[in-house]
Point group: C2
Chain length 223, copies 2
């Protein structure tokens, strides 16, 4: 499968790119608003993989539109306030049956800690769904992963990710992509309307990390 | 320490009562709006403990006011819409230094699943804090525990509970109470303002339980 990571030069994009390239045979394409930056980061990911003995993997870097055009699954690894714009930017090059994946969450910080900043339409995942063209399903996933741990191929994951969506086939495909990453378990959390509680978990994880020694870069396991 | 469980005849109250009575030497007092029901349930808990060889524990049942009057720590194990009223009902019998513990969360259900129903003041824990008398600290804890698993003394817990509050001493006492329960780890999640994300985790757990085989009565572990 061909996976484009738009915003794939950022921290969560880096982690997903490295893990998919290292653990699976999927083709990973890095997208960025700046094509040169995408190419540079893609080359850096290749170097990192090469240093671990994976020398037969080629990672391409492109502008977001060119990256999305080449992929079956497009991950919106961009800040929440760019999710709607990014979907609109690539909408014309998506084919029927392509899948958009939304991992972003809105947060604000005050003196007490981080808080979920719920968008007016209900969730960031819903922003993506509202902007998506007909025939392209949106699936929410990878919201609650610690970026540093994900990008460190020496780190055991041993965590869960929650998958939501209204298209069961698309959800199944994203679930398989998630479980292709070693140590990551994908759990079904229902339809897109269940996104806010998943997105709200990310600021909670940051609050816990800040208040407990030895729990930085933490994830969650449902048991 | 003397712990009153107001609403201690309900499912989360039952679980906390049994676990504290079984795992610790704290005195457990059951409170209910109906004193007779409190006495009946307290006797049933004693019978359950007796059947497990714990025959030296006495659990009293009282009306909510009488229960709160006898306790150092008062757990508001009541539905979210009764939290404010219950605090007001017992306010006069609380002493300086007593602690109120809020485990309740607001939820609503629609066709997609359960959702966090955020109160206007920000959280259910905040409702308790706003109603609490001067000198009585409010601590949020025990929001995300599966009641059935908690009440089943044969079940291993192996889960976390998140503790929040603006009074560090009170938080420390509730953390110790929580960790007195075998298999329960208490994590600091900061101040009371961080309550909404914790309360929102409860409907998420229910959604996950409904969509994944073998994950009913689930809890959460931060790792």
């Amino acid at each position: 499968m061909k996976i484009a990571l738009l915003g794939g030069t950022g921290d969560i994009g880096e982690g997903l790119a490295l893990r998919w390239a290292y653990d699976t045979s999927h083709t990973v394409i890095i997208g960025s608003r700046d094509p040169e930056r995408a190419e540079t980061k893609a080359a850096a990911y290749e170097t990192e993989l090469d240093s671990r003995g994976v020398d037969d993997v080629s990672i391409a870097g492109h502008g977001n539109v060119a990256a999305a055009e080449r992929a079956d699954v497009v991950v919106l690894a961009v800040p929440p306030y760019h999710v709607g714009d990014t979907v609109e930017e690539v909408a014309d090059v998506l084919d029927d049956g392509d899948i958009l994946v939304s991992p972003a969450t809105g947060m604000k910080r005050d003196e007490d800690g981080f808080h979920y900043h719920k968008p007016g339409v209900g969730s960031v995942t819903r922003i993506a769904a509202n902007a998506a063209p007909e025939g392209v399903a949106v699936v929410g996933a990878f919201h609650n992963l610690a970026a540093g741990r994900l990008a460190n191929l020496d780190a055991d994951l041993g965590v869960d990710t929650l998958v939501i969506g209204d298209d069961e086939d698309a959800k199944g495909i994203v679930t398989d992509l998630a479980e292709g990453i070693e140590g990551l378990r994908a759990l079904d959390a229902g339809g897109l309307a269940n996104a806010p509680e998943i997105e709200a978990l990310t600021p909670l994880l940051i609050n816990i990390a800040q208040h407990n020694d030895g729990l930085h870069d933490l994830g969650v396991r449902f048991t």
